[in-house]
Chain length 281, copies 6
């Protein structure tokens, strides 16, 4: 009789046979407003059994792919630098063994660890960034590693013109002004997805979805809800349209499940993750 | 001084004078994921006093009709077969006395009892089925009577081409494949409502609304929220467009009021029920 | 070392230097269904630190203006007449010192106090009224001062053709029938905003937003949620289009923060208030 | 087929045959802090079906008595004087027909209406008052009719030495000082219950239980929780020890069911009400 | 890299090496009032990481023992007979391999399956039953297998004088009357634990704890809270005093974690389970 | 017209005239389980208006003393060392100006900052520590500054025999073993308070109350509820018995208000703080 294994629904490969490695990064220590994203990966796994493994959108099911769910990384609360090192090392190992790393955050800062692993292995990496917030501050209350600075840190690594932002609708004045000459930012919507996909089609691509890009009416389970967002349908269409790109890693971040007691946000995150796993595997 | 009668707002006829008989079927024992629909009918009655009896959409009020609210059926938890018999018997009596039965579920399985009563009295019955889920499994964990099999059981009764499904966006691969040749299924939306209404216009029609057909952003109060649904406005338009058909019974199911602590879902169910009562009475 | 001052984010002028005076009116004693709007102003202030002061929509920030946040008025629960007198007196003083009064309700009845102050100082006042409910009852359970009668009381003051209603979708039959010849009422939507703005452009204007005009999917934090409302985006567009009118006062009412445990409604009220303060200051 | 009658469990007599008349007074307009007691009577009725009708403490069941549940009074929100008149008139009628009135509040002010009815019919009335708060203010924010003044208003009616307070642990300094020479106040506990019962045994007695006398650990569902209260067991013992007095009316007040999402407070109120009905009928 | 194993904290043996086998029985279909115990075992596992593995009460830690956590049984919702067969078969296998079965319910009916397995292997079995409710009905709404009949079904199996009940404070009159001559029932408290332990000390013993025996002030997370219960400390003392008996199986039931949003009830269940595992392993 | 000052009720002195300086330290980044204590000071201030300023226990009111409420310190999330420096500097300034610092946490780690300020100014400092948890780990997941290590860090500073712990009931085996020879630890209860007070009576004393020392039945609003705690009454008695010691600073920590939606925990923290302010000012 075997132990009680808990995975995301339909992700039942072993590590060795897997093409895709799913893992959680339950870290939220730099959250400046309302913490709680540390509970996301665990909630997503247990609520995933409320959805089907089959996608009518793509006419395919999770069982059609070889996905391993490795559980959560052990991360020391309150030490962002060590947390990022741990994530980078783990993703690096996954890359080096020819598999695709897929991360469930945690606050958005965790993306920096995953991008560092990808950027050091794939030249000319592009990042597709879906978010309500710019995340482009140089520092936040004197700290350089913060959920509010994460895309600035990614820019430090990748340089101008490599980051495509969609759905942005909140930030400081300085962030918006700085963005103009350094990143490609679409305000409010994601209509430029096709031209961005075309621009990125010859490069390796990392996709990061801060779930708060979705309108809080549809996704209230997040620490900093920002009205006026994109719809689940539009986001799903956009993400499915990226199928075929050379995607070398992706993540979903910033689900804070306790803030949505109805469970709708967690269920949506499960569904989006299913669709991304099927599309990008 | 009389007793404390509790009804849905504006439904104050006696049984004898009534044309329409509203009742609750508070059963949720086969719910596989999150139970709680047993509380729907009671919540709907008590929250109905937060809406008006007048509909600006139809320029009519509930008091313009003769509706009796009979309260809830006494249903034995954990015995689905007996529950369905009880519902069928009650609806049958209502039909036989020339009144229109209107049921508030409960999990979706209760619809099977109401349809059995209608099908045995009205030849060539059509069923209009609004839902996020196919509900077309042959059986579920070895049980043939389940919320996940209810439309398959209805098909057992009615046969091919009699069931029209709208808004469907979740199911197992086998369900979708089976559906192709047995029922008429519109994925995601309800745009085919006019052509379906036309097809059904010479037949008696039963309408069943699983409230989770509505997008969980608008209706979070349900056990298995499924993103990407239809809007309240679209559903209301569709339902109002069915006015004039020979509607011999209808129900709304799967409100689980406790999962939406804001009360918005219950209020929406109240409003939808008001509109359906006014349109179909 | 100074005291602990609590204001809406970015509203840090002193009273004397301010052009705009923000204040709360935490009163909800006539609420007939679910009370709780008394907590709105306090919740809005403390949650405002979850949004930015900068608006990408208007490319301006709250700090660009001189706004004083005076906290909440002291209002005696259970005495509506005294409450309205207090509000009128306060707003009158603000008007008389050449500043713009901006009120956070409270139930919608508080608007009557603010409108009395404006109407006695500005001839030919127009009122722009965004709401799900008519609020046009002559009286409510025998009381003339009620959240359900507030616009009727405003009409008593201003007369025919001075009130423009938008987004209305609930009321008694009598209200809708009375409205036809006394106020300008747009059902469900706010598409007539441009023609109304044109009609009002030579007059002083008071704007009152009952937050429940927004669809409860987006704004569940209110006592009487009414499905089928306008979107935040449409409301924001409409309100921004009124920039340039001679606005002599405005308010947002009917946030009941406890009914939306996710905090999304409060965050939306904060964002809307930021946009109105920037647009109308 | 009859209408859907909703009563407290086991209270199924008609008015005419009843010895006891239970009714609700859903009023909370003067609540200064957190409203919501208006929902108490409705919650108590519907949750009463989670308890048994039989009391092992008294070896008797509710069905052994003739109790009529008349539902809730229609009370105009925001007009305390009219509310008290309505309650007094109703209780008066019940008294005059030889029945025992039993009221479910509502905020504590409603007790004043019931006591007025009793005091005008029974000479030398005594009031047993269980509460965390003195409720002895002369007025509150300028209003004489308030939850915070209710026992002072009762004293206006009855005079010195007629009010026995138990469990008191909160009030203004002036209240405690005034109390010394006008009422009999036991701080924190109810150990003086026997001597008080002895003192009151030759007089008609009205019993009023502000549920917040119970420690908020056991009874969190109240607007102003005050730590350090009495236990349910101690309160039950005390109330059962009053059996045999000439009790001419009683009430339980200040349950605010929404503040205790677990339902424990409402269930406790149901159980206490069952015990009081059995003991005093 | 291994799979993501989820166990109760400190229970990390393999099945083969284990002396104790912990498992969940997530079934609640016969719940007549408020369902939700199906979520207990999953909540207990994930919240167990909020407590320590070490018990200062017993000066021992879970790691000192060989305990295997086998996860949850797959149980068909809505078919109580099949559910009990599954539990009995599983427990039987555990017994037959010389290990101690420990079950996390689920509603209390699941205990019947575990007792059947024990009773068929151990002669003269005694059952220690901690509960607020008698659970001694002959049938419930016509069903013989129900949470409300479970101890009557156990009595069918074991006969008179073998069941010791503690903390009982709710039931129908008939249950209390029947109990007198068939089981040993202590009302309200557990003071007879020592004499019962002495009476049982020569027999195999099964212990079943319906968590609602604890006062709902301390343990609100249950479907039918019943005021006036025992304290956690008293229950813990009683359970620890049974150490040394020949305990052949035990369970904790009726945690409904969603009804206590603070998580206190789940944390208490975790702590109690830790203490029982340490004491009885 | 002045700004909107927000203080704890009855704390209305200016800094200059004050004898006591109250402030908040809203930090929770090292919380390993459930964060949220960052919201405590703000919740305590706003809910304090639900209690009276007068204490019947001490027959005194907050207005009888000169207390300044300075609001919250600005603390950088995710940098524990900087946070402690900020707290130490602030407390030091308060000490140096002859005032008593009183801190509202935050997680328990913040106490280390306040103790450092006191220890460097008062020789032979004693610390009275009320808590459910030892907090004596040498390090936690490799970090030396953590809520789980805070009393060990205090011991680093003060040495053996200076720390008195009360109510302790959770920790790792090593903590309990280490404690024996280094600190004075009372398990479960606070009965040794008098002898400890006697032992400490010639020394300066710092008092730190981790609110989770109270039983979670009474105080559910905390991140790591631990059953079997002390009662509010016992804790209050103990704290009042310390009046007369040379208390040079005190704090209350670990209220996580969101975990107790009833507000009872926050109200209790308010009451305890009132009593401590009155007793120690």
């Amino acid at each position: 009789m075997g132990p009680n294994v808990q995975t995301f629904i339909g992700c039942e490969s072993s590590y060795d046979e897997a093409d895709v490695v799913l893992f959680g990064a339950p870290f939220d220590s730099t959250a400046s407003y309302r913490p709680g994203t540390r509970f996301a990966s665990s909630a997503i796994r247990s609520e995933s059994f409320g959805i089907e493994t089959y996608s009518p959108y793509q006419r395919a099911a999770l069982e059609d792919f070889k996905i391993f769910d490795g559980g959560d990384l052990d991360l020391p609360f309150g030490n962002a630098a060590r947390v990022l090192d741990t994530i980078e090392a783990f993703c690096g190992k996954v890359h080096d063994e020819g598999k695709l790393p897929v991360m469930i955050g945690g606050e958005h800062l965790v993306t920096f660890g995953a991008v560092r692993a990808a950027a050091s292995r794939y030249q000319d990496l592009r990042v597709m960034h879906f978010d309500a917030h710019c995340d482009l501050r140089r520092d936040y209350m004197g700290e350089s590693l913060s959920h509010a600075t994460v895309m600035r840190r990614v820019w430090d690594l990748l340089g101008d013109g490599r980051i495509y932002q969609f759905g942005i609708r909140s930030g400081a004045r300085e962030e918006f002004e700085w963005a103009v000459s350094h990143v490609r930012t679409e305000l409010y919507t994601i209509r430029s997805i096709d031209s961005c996909a075309e621009a990125a089609c010859r490069y390796p691509v990392y996709i990061t979805v801060d779930m708060d890009v979705i309108d809080p009416a549809e996704f209230p389970g997040t620490g900093t809800p920002e009205a006026g967002g994109v719809s689940f349908k539009d986001l799903l269409d956009a993400l499915l349209s990226l199928k075929g790109l050379d995607i070398v890693g992706f993540d979903i971040c910033e689900l804070a499940p306790h803030y949505d007691s109805s469970g709708v946000s967690t269920a949506m995150a499960c569904k989006l993750l299913r669709e991304m796993l099927i599309a990008y595997s």
